[in-house]
């Protein structure tokens, strides 16, 4: 520790990247302050209805759309533990092909498959990553039936939820505490190692002098809702505020080099399927399988389901489809996600007190992959026995036959009519040695600043094509250890 007036390291954000960073630095004996904008929501408050969960745990109550020619609904967590508190806990390692392409294109050092294995293993062990413990719920079995009929490659995706009780509350916080969000898994360990965690503390500005960051300016929201502005001094700052907020904060603080210029997403379109038999998907965990036949460009998997979400998805064609709500017990939801290589950006908005403007323009590749994905998922679901499939597309209310479905293998969906969403955003401050393409070096140190690091989803050089939490944690661990070793 330097002196009692400053901390050795500030970690901004307590999500997947922040928790790993805090734990690693505190474990190495450094004085660490974790500053988290969101609340420290007690577990007894978890597991509420999805509207309440949104208001409680999500940034701007989930009202953070990404604008572009086709707007995309986007949500991210804002609470102690970040998005890991509201995610589904599906765990992936980045495919070998993806890591190789990061190395070749961005000159990312020290991140080959074998170099990352120990970090993945460390995280998997900490979070007890494992397959679903019980019998698969019906929505998963039906999915499996369709996949078998199509003969495609499939995998049950392990999750960070050992002993999952299938309560279907992943998105509003796991009340049983089985899912290992960071508040459950790593942050208590970071605290035990000496890290101090301050919730309701939003960092507004990084304070700089020349090539160094001297600390941060932060807003603390008090119990009565008033806001106090404070300055916290530190020797090192790790920004782990997530793919939308890390570049916002950096740009706000005058650090613009390759920051926020390359936002990547996995655009996602949901399809709901009505089966002849009751599925009761609202009472069980979401479907656990992922089709990896078309990886990493396209993945097909299971989506969260509730009555409200069904209505939301049918909402594009509500006058025709509202009566389908009568059969809600027979429905389940699935998704098509594409790797996404459109152009995206993150900018602090000039108006307001720290607003962010997110933009992403779907590429033709994205649209083509999406169209094929819809064709394949609809075929799969019809082959699984669905009577009808309802894509979240205004001009295509329903697909009833496989022949109707395969049309989209060759034709492009009407982009303007798609109701796209995403929960996977990254690469807004890519890292690597290719200075012309990256905002930080291979270990997350921001170019042109000596003591500032990014260590969250924003650092991924490009879209991983699979659920990102595992890769965010493995890279964050690697970077934090590299930092500690270099002291």
């Amino acid at each position: 520790m330097t002196d009692s007036k400053r901390v050795d390291a500030i970690v901004i954000g307590s999500g997947a990247g922040g928790a790993v960073t805090a734990m690693t630095l505190a474990g190495a004996g450094m004085s660490v302050a974790v500053l988290e904008e969101g609340a420290n929501v007690p577990r007894r408050e978890y597991g509420k209805s999805s509207p309440e969960g949104m208001a409680q745990l999500f940034r701007r109550s989930g009202m953070t759309p990404i604008l572009g020619r086709v707007p995309i609904g986007f949500v991210e967590g804002r609470c102690v533990g970040g998005s890991t508190e509201v995610n589904s806990g599906f765990w992936h390692r980045a495919p070998r092909e993806v890591l190789l392409s990061w190395q070749s294109r961005f000159d990312l050092q020290g991140a080959t498959e074998s170099e990352l294995v120990p970090h993945y293993e460390w995280a998997e062990q900490r979070l007890s990553v494992s397959p679903y413990p019980g019998e698969w719920p019906k929505s998963t079995k039906l999915f499996q039936r369709g996949i078998d009929a199509m003969g495609w490659a499939v995998r049950e995706i392990p999750r960070t939820a050992p002993g999952c009780q299938s309560a279907n509350t992943c998105a509003s916080g796991c009340a049983s505490g089985k899912k290992q969000g960071m508040s459950q898994g790593l942050l208590p360990e970071a605290k035990a190692a000496g890290a101090n965690i301050l919730s309701h503390c939003r960092v507004k500005l990084l304070l700089r002098q020349g090539r160094r960051v001297t600390g941060v300016l932060a807003e603390i929201t008090r119990d009565n809702g008033s806001v106090e502005l404070v300055r916290i001094d530190a020797d090192h700052v790790f920004v782990c505020a997530g793919a939308s907020q890390t570049p916002t904060l950096l740009r706000q603080s005058g650090l613009r080099y390759k920051v926020g210029d390359q936002l990547r997403l996995h655009p996602m379109l949901k399809l709901t399927a009505r089966f002849p038999q009751p599925v009761n998907a609202q009472n069980s965990v979401l479907p656990l399988l992922q089709v990896n036949e078309f990886w990493p460009e396209i993945s097909l998997g299971g989506a969260y389901f509730s009555s409200g979400h069904l209505a939301f998805l049918l909402g594009d064609n509500w006058p025709q489809l509202s009566m389908e709500m009568e059969h809600q017990n027979h429905f389940a939801s699935y998704y098509v996600a594409v790797r996404g290589n459109g152009r995206g950006s993150v900018r602090p908005s000039a108006l307001g007190n720290g607003d962010t403007a997110l933009r992403y323009d779907l590429s033709v590749d994205d649209l083509r992959s999406m169209s094929r994905g819809v064709a394949r998922l609809a075929t799969l679901l019809l082959a699984a026995g669905a009577e009808a499939v309802y894509p979240a597309i205004r001009s295509i209310p329903v697909i009833r036959t496989e022949l109707d479905a395969v049309r989209w293998l060759t034709e492009l969906l009407p982009a303007k009519d798609l109701s796209l969403t995403t929960v996977h955003a990254f690469s807004s401050c890519p890292m690597g040695e290719q200075a012309g393409l990256t905002a930080a070096n291979s270990y997350g140190r921001v170019h042109h600043v000596d003591n500032l690091y990014v260590n969250d989803a924003s650092m991924l050089p490009d879209s991983p094509g699979v659920n990102p939490q595992g890769t965010v944690m493995a890279l964050a661990r690697r970077n934090a250890l590299h930092f500690v070793d270099s002291l």
Partner: protein, 482 residues
């Protein structure tokens, strides 16, 4: 530990104040015939003009109290009378203590009375001063526009226009784009480390102060009250000019009041002796009023400005039993929050506290009407509890959008309301439910892309909340064939 009372900087302030007063007094009286001034004073018709002028000035302090209460928020346990008394104590202390210490006494007393942190009371005091500056400039410019200008006052007004433009732009920026202002301060601080901490501290304070004005309705009320305060103060000037038989327009009083109040920013003794006299008399002379009469008027107006408020303030101090030394010390400590604090074990320096958020406003009936309209598209009964839940959710979620998107949505809803009102000659929220559903269906699912775009978030939120409302699941759904 309290800081020592007599530091070098305070001695310097005192000495420069006395020197400034001496200099300005000399300048004010240099070229006038003192006997003429005395004659003008003796001839002045004090009744009824002096009491009227003083009354106007004191009413201005009542308005200050009202504004202060509004700035603290309606829920604060502070009556308008108490707020006015405390404001006057601040003025009285400025009249007897050096270096505008009255501002700290006022902030200290306000904090003691309201139970809010000293830092917040200082922020309120700061925003009052900022608004006063802008109001004085507006009235000064208004007066100047009517009566015309001469000589150095023209230069002063030119400078004022620039200052006013910059201050207003700064205030607007602080209200609507506080982060950009902080970013600018951060960028300057990164290049010039010596100014970093004070500059960021200042900008932090300005943005916190400005946040008090973020609510447009409140901002308009407070702005209007600020103008009123200074109009009443100009009443003191106007009334006492009448006492000298000067047939001046009210605009002359506005101009004189403005110039005087800007002038007293220069260093002087407590009570603004010298500065007040010089700037007041020069402003009057610039309007063609004889030098002796101008100086005499300045002397009388200063008395009207000084004595009643000092007496009122002293009375209030005794009434509230305030211990001046302690109050002052607490407020000054809050002004220099450089001391280190630990929260959750993290060392930090506080730079000030903003006000608690305003209580929520009553719901806009449009949200209920939109919800009814949307739910009416689906045949069958509507669960009223779930509907109410969806209405609240809709309103809350739309309010959570970023400023830019919220603005877009408000404009969209405004167009919607106007179009519907023009079509049906009734506001949307007063239409029968069936008509509301027809209208919503046309906008949300019709041929008009902008309408569909506007209704996309609205319909999504309503449907999500209605069907996921805690009781809706059992009441509404799950009844299909199994």
């Amino acid at each position: 530990m309290s800081p020592p009372l007599w530091t070098w900087s305070r001695v310097a302030v005192l000495v420069s104040g006395v020197a400034g007063s001496g200099l300005f007094l000399t300048l004010a009286f240099r070229s006038v015939d003192l006997a003429g001034v005395k004659d003008a004073l003796t001839a002045a018709q004090l009744w009824p003009w002096l009491p009227l002028g003083v009354l106007s000035y004191l009413i201005g302090h009542g308005v200050r109290g009202l504004r202060c209460r509004l700035l603290f928020g309606r829920d604060t346990p502070l009556s308008t009378a108490t707020a006015s008394n405390i404001v006057v104590v601040g003025y009285a202390c400025n009249n007897i203590l050096p270096a505008r210490l009255g501002e700290f006494v006022r902030a200290g007393m306000l904090a003691e009375r309201t139970g809010l942190p000293y830092a917040h009371a200082l922020t309120v005091t700061f925003v009052e001063r900022l608004l006063d500056g802008i109001a004085i400039l507006v009235l000064l410019l208004g007066g100047a526009w009517v009566v015309g200008l001469a000589g150095w006052i023209q230069d002063l007004v030119n400078v004022c226009v620039i200052v006013f433009a910059v201050a207003t732009a700064g205030l607007l920026l602080a209200i609507f784009a506080s982060n950009s202002l902080l970013a600018l301060a951060g960028a300057i601080g990164a290049r010039i480390p010596a100014v970093s901490a004070p500059l960021i501290g200042l900008v932090a304070k300005v943005t916190q102060a400005a946040s008090l004005l973020a609510d447009p309705r409140r901002a308009v009320q407070i702005g209007a009250l600020s103008l009123l305060v200074w109009l009443f103060e100009a009443g003191l000037f106007s009334s006492l000019l009448n006492a000298f038989g000067v047939d001046a327009r009210f605009a002359t009083s506005l101009l004189t009041m403005g110039v005087t109040n800007l002038g007293i920013l220069a260093p002087s003794t407590p009570g603004f002796i010298g500065t007040f006299h010089l700037f007041c008399s020069e402003a009057l002379q610039s309007q063609g009023i004889a030098a002796e009469t101008s100086v005499a008027a300045a002397v009388l107006i200063h008395i009207g400005f000084y004595v009643p408020v000092t007496v009122w303030g002293a009375g209030s101090l005794i009434w509230y039993g305030t211990q001046l030394g302690n109050t002052l010390a607490a407020a000054r400590r809050a002004r220099h929050p450089q001391s280190l604090e630990f929260r959750e074990g993290i060392p930090m320096h506080s730079l000030g506290v903003g006000e608690p958020p305003a209580p929520p406003r009553p719901a806009d009936p449009i949200y209920e009407a939109l919800t009814r309209g949307l739910l009416g598209i689906r045949p069958g009964p509507v669960d009223e509890d779930a509907r109410a839940y969806a209405t609240n959710f809709l309103e809350h979620q739309l309010a959570s959008l970023s400023s830019y998107l919220r603005l877009q949505l408000r404009l969209g809803l405004l167009s919607f309301r106007v179009c519907v009102a023009l079509r049906y000659w009734r506001p949307f929220s007063r239409l029968p439910v069936e008509t509301q559903s027809t209208v919503v269906q046309w906008w949300a699912y019709g041929p008009f892309p902008l309408g569909r775009q506007l209704f996309r978030p609205i319909r999504s939120l309503v449907l999500l909340a209605y069907f996921d409302a805690p009781r809706a699941a059992s009441v509404q759904l799950g009844t299909g064939p199994s």
